[in-house]
């Protein structure tokens, strides 16, 4: 149990999937212009990543048992697309308020590499089922934390800062991300993965 808590803590802070492993950058940059959207995207990612990690683990064991683990990539991608589609249909039907809040972010998640990366990492690191679920949850919370932090900074910055023309928009985002990443590297040694 301690082990799992440590894994969650490590994947949120010192092994943050966005700022240390540099994954999921496209949506991180595109959807971080205001905090409200960033929150929606963050929640949707937490939901989808945790679900797909839990679903992909038994499927991978099945592939291992039949000796077809080379096809893992293809199978993972299809599972992810299917989960996202099902989740969208389910939410539209049963929880329309939730669907209105972050339904538009769901289709975008299929191309968010965090989802696939979590599945590939548990294969590489040979996690057990419990560890996979903890890692998936922790990583997605870490990603949500990163996007909300970035959106907060960008929102303030858009109002008060006077940047050189070439640095406006995407350029400054990378500098902010670099500084945030430095801060997260400061957590090194806090917990091991």
């Amino acid at each position: 149990m301690n082990n799992l808590l440590e894994l969650i803590l490590a994947s949120i802070l010192n092994h943050n999937i966005a700022l240390v492993y540099i994954l999921g950058m496209c949506p991180l940059i595109a959807i971080s212009t205001n905090v409200k959207n960033a929150k929606g995207m963050g929640l949707a990612v937490i939901l989808v990543v945790t679900l797909t990690a839990i679903i992909n683990w038994p499927i991978y064991q099945l592939l291992l048992a039949t000796g077809t683990e080379k096809l893992a990539l293809l199978v993972f991608i299809i599972t992810i697309a299917a989960v996202v589609q099902l989740l969208e249909i389910f939410m539209e039907k049963f929880v329309p308020s939730m669907y209105n809040a972050f339904g538009i972010f769901l289709p975008l998640i299929t191309v968010n590499c965090v989802v696939l990366a979590v599945s590939l990492f548990f294969v590489n690191r040979e996690y057990t089922f419990g560890e996979t679920a903890a890692f998936g949850f922790g990583s997605s919370v870490g990603w949500a934390l990163a996007i909300i932090l970035l959106a907060g900074i960008r929102e303030k910055m858009a109002k008060i800062s006077d940047l050189p023309k070439g640095l406006r928009g995407k350029g400054i985002v990378f500098i902010i991300l670099g500084i945030l990443a430095l801060a997260f590297i400061g957590f090194t040694g806090l917990a091991s993965i």
């Binding site: 700022l19 240390v20 492993y21 540099i22 994954l23 999921g24 950058m25 496209c26 940059i29 212009t33 080379k70 096809l71 990539l73 293809l74 991608i77 299809i78 697309a81 299929t110 191309v111 968010n112 590499c113 696939l116 990366a117 590939l120 990492f121 294969v123 590489n124 858009a158 050189p164 023309k165 070439g166 640095l167 406006r168 928009g169 995407k170 350029g171 400054i172 985002v173 990378f174 500098i175 991300l177 670099g178 500084i179 990443a181 430095l182 590297i185």
Partner: protein, 207 residues
């Protein structure tokens, strides 16, 4: 005089778009994950760039071949399946012939699937154009991507270790900037590169 006329052909313009005017990383800011994660060493960057170029060209060609038979509702899934088939091929090739690079890149080879450049070219170009143009377009986008990757990785490896591809460049007393081989170094170098190129080409964003 032949080369002057060449400048106005479709071939030449597609090539120029991918390399320069629509460079996937610097202008469109797509496919950043792998661009930053693998550029701490030059050889990894070259392997990744060539892998992506191959996948873009091959998957665009296949998409373009069957573009008239794909129902538009399931086209995304079809693209995904085609792309992942080629990515698996790249992964197996690297494992068989370059095991060192394969283990250094790790999960990032598999993540070529979710690289927006590949999907973007399939959707924006290959779905509407004949095969011969998609090959040029895929090559141009892939090379534009490789170019930026190599530039970023040269800066990072030089500052982090004082050498490029194992050959020492900096004097003996060079203090290694270890942070350059970690995530923040990648962010800073790419941010400054984008700034420089946009000032140079006068491509500004409004907000």
């Amino acid at each position: 005089m032949n080369w002057i006329r060449l400048r106005y052909t479709k071939w030449f313009n597609i090539l120029k778009d991918g390399l320069h005017r629509n460079n996937p990383i610097v202008v469109a800011v797509l496919g950043i994950c792998s661009a930053l994660a693998v550029t701490n060493r030059v050889d990894n960057a070259i392997a990744m760039g060539l892998g992506v170029t191959f996948v873009v060209m091959a998957s665009s060609a296949v998409v373009s071949l069957i573009r008239n038979f794909i129902p538009s509702k399931v086209r995304m899934v079809t693209y995904m399946v085609i792309i992942s088939a080629f990515v698996i091929a790249v992964q197996m090739f690297l494992e068989a012939f370059f095991p060192n690079i394969a283990s250094a890149l790790g999960a990032y080879v598999g993540l070529i699937i979710t690289n927006c450049i590949v999907m973007g070219r399939a959707e924006a170009f290959a779905a509407k154009n004949p095969v011969r143009y998609t090959l040029v377009d895929g090559f141009a986008s892939g090379m534009g991507y490789t170019l930026v990757l190599v530039v970023v990785s040269i800066v990072r490896e030089l500052l982090a270790t004082g050498s490029i591809l194992g050959a020492p460049i900096m004097p003996e007393t060079w203090p290694n900037w270890v942070v350059m081989s970690m995530a923040p170094g990648g962010f800073f170098v790419l941010g400054l590169l984008i700034w420089g190129i946009r000032e140079w080409s006068k491509f500004y964003e409004t907000n």
